[in-house]
């Protein structure tokens, strides 16, 4: 992964899709497998799972349409890799809002308890 990723990042990515894509255990497990940064084949991603290759492919398509994962071709093989940006961006924004609430509620507590 390099900071100069191609234009895929400019695609409009819908937060609702990203959240929906992440709201599933199988897909979270797939993301965890891809989080090392190495592209993986469907066979590699199916290995160790109780699900069929077909089912895994379907989940990968959901992740792909949310922009969380993208397909890359390597020879005849189709591989999948993680695009960290949609998840990391959301996470960061939520964290900054969350931190602001912690501070504000801390001041509220101090105000009423004094």
């Amino acid at each position: 992964m390099s900071p100069s990723l191609p234009s895929a990042g400019r695609r409009r990515i819908d937060h609702a899709l990203v959240f929906a894509a992440l709201g599933d255990e199988t897909r979270l497990a797939l993301i965890a497998k891809l989080a090392g940064g190495e592209p993986r084949s469907i066979s590699q991603l199916t290995a160790g799972s109780k699900l069929t290759r077909q089912a895994i492919t379907k989940h990968l398509r959901v992740l792909e349409s949310a922009g969380v994962v993208r397909g890359v071709r390597e020879g005849r093989e189709s591989l999948f890799e993680l695009d960290p940006r949609p998840i990391a961006g959301l996470r960061q924004y939520l964290e900054s809002v969350s931190k602001q609430w912690d501070e504000a509620l801390g001041r509220l507590k101090a105000l009423v308890e004094r």
Binding site: G89, L90, Y93, S96, L111, V112
Partner: protein, 154 residues
């Protein structure tokens, strides 16, 4: 990953006291750091200016949704992308909104206050880019963050 924020805090004060601190616009302004123009009224827009040092040019704008005395107070508010002084517009008319809810419950020692903010899935994708411009952690760092985040929430 959660699309909402939830905070629960125990406050050593009666529910009536906490209710006042949340719904009296002057008291709210004191801890939230905003100078509001007038009282909160159900269904109406509340406006004012942020008093947080360094952000005094930022406008506060929210629409009060519900006020159930000593139980629940909620409002929706808009999120704008940039708070940098140069790019801040103060125009919330098309801003995506989230819902903020305060719930109060009496406990043995005082009040349990639960705050939730939901609806982040309404935010457009460019929030992501904005967050990234401010981030200098690099991609490998982000990968690690995602890994641990996914591990936590799965």
């Amino acid at each position: 990953m959660n699309d909402r924020i939830e905070k629960r805090i125990e406050i050593k004060a009666p529910v009536s006291r906490v209710w006042r601190a949340i719904t009296d616009y002057r008291e709210f302004g004191e801890w939230f750091r905003v100078r509001l123009e007038g009282p909160f009224v159900e269904g109406q827009v509340s406006s004012g200016m942020i008093t947080y040092p360094g952000y005094e040019y930022v406008k506060w704008e929210a629409r009060v949704q519900k006020m159930e005395p000593e139980k629940m107070f909620s409002f929706t508010w808009g999120h704008v992308k940039a708070f940098d002084k140069e790019t801040y517009s103060g125009d919330y008319s098309n801003a995506p909104t989230t819902l903020v809810e305060f719930r109060l419950e009496a406990t043995k020692d005082g009040t349990l206050l639960t705050l939730t903010e939901s609806g982040f899935e309404q935010l457009p994708a460019d929030f992501r880019d904005e967050a990234f411009r401010r981030n200098d952690g690099g991609w490998s760092e982000q990968m690690k963050n995602i890994e641990s985040h996914v591990a936590k929430s799965s």
